[in-house]
Amino acid sequence: MSTHAQSAGPVDAALAGPAVIAARDLRKTFGGGSVVAVEDANFEIRPGEFISLVGPSGCGKSTLLRMVAGLLDRTSGSLTVHDAEVRGPHHSVAMMFQKPTLLDWRTSLENVLLPTEIAGRVTDADRHRAMDLLELAGLRDFAFSFPTQLSGGMQQRVALARLLQTGADILLLDEPFGALDEFTREHLNVELMRIVGEVNATTLFVTHNIAEAIFLADRVFVMTPRPGRIAGIVEVPFERPRPPSIQQGAEFNALVSRVRQTFGDRG
């Protein structure tokens, strides 16, 4: 098992490279322009960076994420991934949803192997890799269980393993643990941090929980609704991975207040 490597580099190292994702004056409207979902989004995300998108419901977080995934077209502006304009789903980007979206008729392992199947033939190496990812997600004993036999948290971990199986270096997570209870959620957040650190992926994480956003991210994009725009960006100075206890510190609380304030400024 090669997956228990030491954690990935600190924030500064990640920030050193060129932008993996870049948006210029990005704008998205629905209903023929009557609803502005995202307006004037400008940002650059560097390799290995973990970004949280935080904001209330309907502020355009998911829309932004879906545009990066290539699932939605933008109305105007520019959006590049690896210096190429996004024109549809891209193999270097993978997405995970609030629901586990597992296929009931496949075992955990077969679910994890789905992206490989879609990309082409499945080799034994792929199978071993999938098994390793399940191990990474702590589900080795459940590799041959079907989704209906798993708890909600376990299902999301399978979905997470599947996300990594895509081999994408950009991971988009749309409130992945939103439907889970607090304990499971915190546990999975720690796991997520460990895992994305190990594979050194660039991550965009959507949530409406401020503490969660700060706990996970290198930078927090604070979004406000109507029209959806990025109201401010809060840098998180802690090294990853971080212990959950960090959330009790005064510095952490100060960050929470700053994020709150950013909302307040706009509202």
Binding site: G70, P89, A94, T101, L114, P115, I118, F144, Q149
Partner: protein
């Protein structure tokens, strides 16, 4: 006929000896009551032959005369062929319609109208169009078997969770891959239910077709026997149909259990164990 896959949770004490004995007792009582009612003249022998006469009729039609076999075989062949062709067509068309939004929109009104029409009334027209041969009978069964799989497949395909479709798109899956790996399996429980419905009505369809125009088949035998007022033999045919229907019904249930194993806890566990075993056989004791 309807899908009666199960009649709610099984009452406790499923199949103990006592329950079976009581079932038999009830059946025997019913038969005895029938026999007595016949002998006392409460039931009209023109319509209700003695149960004992029916029993003798079974022996006659199946053993001493053996004349029911070719008819039974023919009816079963019509049912099977019509069912296979009709449901295959229904599923195939539903797949086309399900994949092409525009087709679905414009086809919908016609499907609704056809669905509302008693299919049996179309039977004579089909005989006229396809002639008197085996094809026309099969065509009628096909027609009867077409709708349930069609409607259910379509519903199942359209009802796939949008998140899952997005997930497939985000993985860069082609339309064909999305269909094969997501839509079709997602629709399987509903397709299976549709197939059960179709199979149930296939028997009725074959019977009608044979009533209308045929030289052989259980429907013909029934007409012949009722026409000559030989009611005990006619009842043998009807009860044969019931048994056939029951058998078909049970086998479709079994098929459903195999096809959509993941809806049943025990079956899922079994399949899971089997997959583990085959992985071990293939990849070594890695798991």
């Amino acid at each position: 006929m309807t899908d009666s896959s199960d009649l709610g949770p099984v009452p406790p004490g499923g199949r103990t000896r006592g329950v079976i004995a009581r079932h038999v007792a009830i059946l025997v009582t019913l038969l005895a009551a029938w026999e007595i009612a016949c002998r006392m003249g409460w039931l009209d022998p023109l319509f209700f032959p003695y149960p004992s006469a029916i029993l003798v009729g079974f022996w006659r039609l199946y053993v001493t005369q053996g004349n029911i076999w070719p008819h039974l075989g023919l009816t079963m062949a019509e049912v099977l062929a019509g069912f296979l062709a009709g449901s295959a067509l229904g599923i195939a068309l539903a797949v086309c319609v399900g994949l092409i939004d525009r087709l679905r929109r414009y086809l919908k009104p016609y499907v609704i109208v056809l669905e509302a029409t008693p299919r049996i009334a179309i039977g004579p027209v089909i005989i006229a169009a396809f002639g008197f041969g085996w094809t026309s009978k099969t065509a009628i069964v096909m027609l009867v078997c077409f709708f349930a799989p069609f409607v259910n497949t379509l519903n199942g395909m359209v009802g796939v969770e949008p998140e899952k479709v997005s997930m497939f798109r985000s993985m860069g899956a082609s339309k064909l891959q999305t269909f094969r790996k997501l839509m079709l399996p997602s629709a399987l429980p509903e397709i299976s239910a549709g197939l059960r419905l179709a199979m149930a009505s296939a028997l009725g369809g074959a019977l009608v077709a044979e009533f209308i125009a045929s030289n052989a088949g259980l429907g013909v035998l029934i007409t012949q026997y009722t026409g000559t007022l030989n009611m005990s033999s006619a009842f043998v045919c009807v009860l044969t149909l019931s048994a056939l229907g029951y058998f078909i019904f049970r086998s479709m249930e079994e098929l459903d259990r195999i096809l959509v194993f993941w809806t049943d806890r025990d079956r899922t566990a079994r399949v899971s164990r089997r997959r583990l075993a085959s992985w071990r056989a293939r990849m070594g004791d890695d798991a």
